[in-house]
Each structure stands twice: as structure tokens, then as C-alpha cells.
Amino acid sequence: LDALNESLPVPTPTVLTQGFWESAKKGKLVFQYCSKCNTLQAYPKPWCSECGSEELSWKEMSGEGTVYSFTIPRQVVDNSLAFKDKLPFIIAVIELKEGPKFISNIIDLPPDNVRIGMKVRVTFEEFREEIVLPTFRPCKGNSRSEMANVVDR
């Protein structure tokens, strides 16, 4: 069990979610779109959670958003030992320009410099086993001082 806890959790694409992961591999952030009622849902669901339609397709997001909230883990717990070497890091809720919210990481920024309202843009990081994770980094639209400590790519 310790070995299980210490290995990084790798997403397992399913029939429902593979469109999301395939797109991420191509550098695209896609959410489910309901053509009946125009709802966007960030996490793949079996039907539109607003109107119940199964007419869902993948829609590419602009990748632009703002930080809605964040937390900075300072220690790991039993279920997340694999993240010990990354501490501290930023977990954030990103409110996409299109509306939905998505939980991800903010990278290239010292954790204590993050703030709610910060403008961010999606980027894509190789995770492991063919999985690419959409993460976010600060982008233009923030003040000069906020951008001062952002790591260049």
C-alpha cells in the first residue's frame, strides 16, 4: 500500500474522458459542450447536467482565465506521499473566460506570489504514461510587480 501511495496518481482515460486527454496531448483544453442549452461543463459527465441532453461535443477553450481561489500544500498526507518533493506548490481553481471552473496547478510562480484574480493562461505539461496535464501560468494582464517573479519559458 505504501508503494501505491508513493506513486504519482495517473489518470485512466475512459470512453467518457478520452476526448479530454487526447486533446490535452495536442495542446488543447476542451470541455463538454451541450448543443441543446449551450452549457459548458469542465468535468466530463454522462449527460448535460443542466438540461439532461446527451448531445455533447468537445469544445476548445481559449485557455485564458483568472485565479478564483488557491491553496498551497505545506505537507503531504497519507494519500499523497508522491507530492512530497514538490512542496510547496500551488493548487488553484481557475475560472475560465468561458465560465466553467477547473482545478489545476499554477506553475512558474513562487507559491507565495499567487493571488486571487491573477490572470493565467493554460500550458501543457508531460505527466507520465502518455498523460499530458493542462496547467496554468501567469500571463499578460497582471501588473509588472506580479510578473516580476514569474519564471521564463
Binding site: L4, P9, F70, P73, Q75, D78
Partner: protein, 397 residues
């Protein structure tokens, strides 16, 4: 229109085991469950046999078991007519109480034994992860409820500003209550400084904001108001009940996560009970997986305006002797969270207070109690999925 169930059903017995943090599992979940059931039955003069052909309400523990109720029925040798099962997490006991009353109201049974037990320290946390969590939360380093509540609390602070010294009132007062509760896990008081200086687990959640997982079991017995008097001279009546599930679709829209379904559940419960929360409640029991959850529920139930819980706490004595007693048993922060059965702590403490059995922490003249429960923080979507509010009273109306 008066609620059909108002004052017609009562809790007549209750039980709460000692808790522990044993990681080696000296006792199994089933053993805690049996101990809790025995205490509840003893408190109202009933035995296991009295529940032949009657109801049993079971709380699902964290370990996955597709037929938990069948397992318990066989393991305990029960012969029930109605089996209720709750997987509503912290909100479970409120839901079980409501369903027990409804089952008796429908004439299916005369009484229901509701029981919850869990031993979360004895098995791996992997057992409770859902696909969504494994695929879309864990890879980003989300560490379960701590991370999710960190995100809620950070937004709360951003919108309303709250001082750590104000938040401290919750863990400090609850710890004081725990010192007056012989079966609470912690028995030493803490100070505001202890809270402020406690280490940050995940910003802005401090160690002393977090509930304490323990192994343990709790139970209560429900019957009709007519039968109640045969079992106890201190029945506690169900006056109102409200629930809200799947409050909002957090990932579709942009809900304000500083509100919970408790707004809706509380309104329904108070309307059914026909009381005004602020003036009529003698005390409140608020599910406290985190300090911030207590603040949000205080606001959602109308005890203060949204965003003003910090000032409210600063100005209000929330001890058992104060103006609005909160979590008089110590809550899960200090008494312990018996895994998925954690919500029972609040129901049982409310019953204890309304029976005037709170000993050193008894609220003087406790007449009406509010039990607000929340559960299922599987996803960051309008906070928690399940909200439940019960209004309990010493008298029928």
C-alpha cells in the same frame, strides 16, 4: 400548512462509544457498531429482539462494500422489516432520522435503530477515491478534503476578510467543551495563540482547523410520539427537517463557494418547524470538518449575514453557557470524527442537551436545538453535495 411529521416522531435513546486513534484495528467497524447500538438500546430499555420486524438505519463506512446492510444484518443476526442505508457522508444521520420518521409515518414499522460506526485509521485512504478524484484531482496534488476546504476558505477570506483570532474562537471554544466531555478524544484546553501558531497544512487551513479522524460508533433510536413515553420520560421530538442535494454545478457556472445548500435546507427545516432560527434556537450543532464550515453554516442558517461570521464570533459567547452555544460536545475538531459516522456526534449531542443530560456542559433551559450537517466533498461544486438541517425539541411544539 403544518408539516405532517412535525412533533409526531421522537428520538428516545442514544449511544456514543469511546473513540481511539488505534491504527492496528484492535476493534473492527462492526464491533464499534455493536457497542454504539447496545448503548442506545440500553438508554431506552430495549433489546436487539425488539427490532425484529422493525427498522434499522445504517451509515455506510468509508470502506467500499456493495452490500453493507446485508453484511451487517447477517453479522449481527438482525431480522428487520425496513433497512435504511445512508451514504450521505456527514449529512447521513439527519437523512436517516428523516427517513426513519417517514417509514414509521407510512406504517411500515414502529421504531428504527439508526447506527453509524467507522474505523478510518485502520485502512488505506485509497478505498474511498472516485474516478473523478483519481483522474482530475489527485494528479494536480489535491489531497482530499484539506485541499478542497483550503480552496473554499481562501475564497472566503478574499471576499470577506476574517482574522485568524476570530476563526480561533471555534476550535478554542470547542476544545473547552471537550474538556467537559469525558468521552471526547482531547482533554486539554487550547488558546487563541495555540491556534494562530499551529502549522499551516495547506493555506489557509491550519492544523487546528481540521477535524480529528477517530475510530468509533454512535447510534439513536426513533419511534412515534405515542410510543416514546413507554421507552423514556425524556423523548426528543423531530420538529422540522430540511435537505438540499447537489446544490450547484460548480464546474459549469460560477457559483459562490462561500454558500452551501444549508441556505435551502435550513429555510425548509425552520419553516416546517414553524420557528424563527435566531430567536428560538437554544443551541446549534454544526458539522465541523473544518472551522470555516462552521462559519459558513452560521451565515447560511441566518444567525448572521454572509461574511460576518468573524465579527459574530468575536462578539458572541458560543460556549455552553453563552448566548448561542455551538458544538457543546467538542465537535469533530476536539471530540473526533468517527469517519463516515461523524455526523452522528452532533445529533447525539443535541439529544443529550435536550434531555438535560449534558452534565458539566449542560445548556440551561435547552428547549430547541438545530443540527446542521454537510457531507460529500467529492468535488469542488457549490461546496458540499449534501446539506441537511434537523430541528429538535424537548416539547412537541
Amino acid at each position: 400548512v403544518t408539516w405532517a411529521l412535525k412533533g409526531k416522531y421522537a428520538i428516545v435513546g442514544y449511544g456514543e462509544t469511546k473513540v481511539d486513534r488505534d491504527r492496528h484495528g484492535k476493534l473492527s467497524i462492526e464491533q464499534y457498531l455493536v457497542k454504539a447500538a447496545r448503548l442506545a438500546l440500553q438508554s431506552c430499555g430495549l433489546t436487539k429482539k425488539d427490532f425484529d420486524g422493525q427498522g434499522i438505519g445504517l451509515m455506510e463506512p468509508q470502506v467500499v462494500h456493495p452490500m453493507w446492510s446485508a453484511h451487517i444484518i447477517q453479522d449481527l443476526g438482525l431480522h428487520p422489516r425496513v433497512v435504511l442505508r445512508s451514504d450521505h457522508g456527514g449529512a447521513g444521520p439527519g437523512y436517516l432520522l428523516e427517513q426513519a420518521a417517514a417509514s414509521i409515518h407510512a406504517g411500515l414499522v414502529d421504531k428504527v435503530l439508526c447506527v453509524g460506526a467507522d474505523a478510518p485509521l485502520t485502512y488505506a485512504p485509497q478505498t474511498m477515491a472516485q474516478r473523478l478524484v483519481l483522474d482530475f484531482m489527485r494528479p494536480f496534488g489535491m489531497m482530499g478534503p484539506n485541499s478542497l476546504f483550503g480552496l473554499v476558505a481562501q475564497r472566503y477570506i478574499h471576499l470577506y476578510g476574517v482574522k485568524a483570532e476570530q476563526v480561533a474562537k471555534i476550535p478554542v471554544t470547542q476544545r473547552y467543551h471537550a474538556t467537559l466531555n469525558p468521552i471526547a478524544y482531547f482533554d486539554r484546553a487550547i488558546t487563541t495563540e495555540d491556534y494562530v501558531n499551529s502549522r499551516v497544512i495547506t493555506d489557509p487551513i491550519r492544523l487546528l482547523d481540521c477535524c480529528l479522524p477517530v475510530n468509533g460508533g454512535l447510534a439513536f433510536v426513533v419511534t412515534s410520539a405515542e410510543r416514546a413515553m413507554d421507552m423514556t420520560d425524556r423523548p426528543v421530538f423531530l420538529l422540522g427537517s430540511g435537505a438540499c442535494f447537489n446544490y450547484r454545478h460548480g464546474d459549469n457556472l460560477a457559483p459562490d463557494v462561500t454558500y452551501m445548500g444549508t441556505v435551502k435546507a435550513g429555510k425548509e427545516a425552520f419553516e416546517r418547524a414553524g420557528i424563527s432560527q435566531v430567536s428560538d434556537a437554544s443551541f446549534v450543532q454544526l458539522y465541523d470538518d473544518y472551522s470555516y464550515a462552521v462559519m459558513i453554516q452560521l451565515e447560511d442558517l441566518g444567525f448572521c449575514k454572509k461574511g460576518e461570521a468573524g465579527n459574530f464570533l468575536e462578539e458572541t459567547d458560543i460556549s455552553f453557557a453563552g448566548k448561542l452555544p455551538i458544538n457543546t460536545g467538542g465537535g469533530q475538531l476536539s471530540s473526533g470524527q468517527a469517519g463516515m459516522a461523524g455526523g452522528f456526534h452532533f445529533m447525539v449531542e443535541a439529544v443529550r442537551q435536550l434531555r438535560q443530560e449534558g452534565d458539566q456542559r449542560q445548556i440551561e433551559g435547552a428547549n430547541i436545538g438545530v443540527v446542521s450537517l454537510i457531507g460529500a466533498i467529492t468535488q469542488y461544486a457549490g461546496n458540499l453535495i449534501n446539506s441537511h438541517v434537523s430541528i429538535l425539541g424537548r416539547e412537541v411544539a
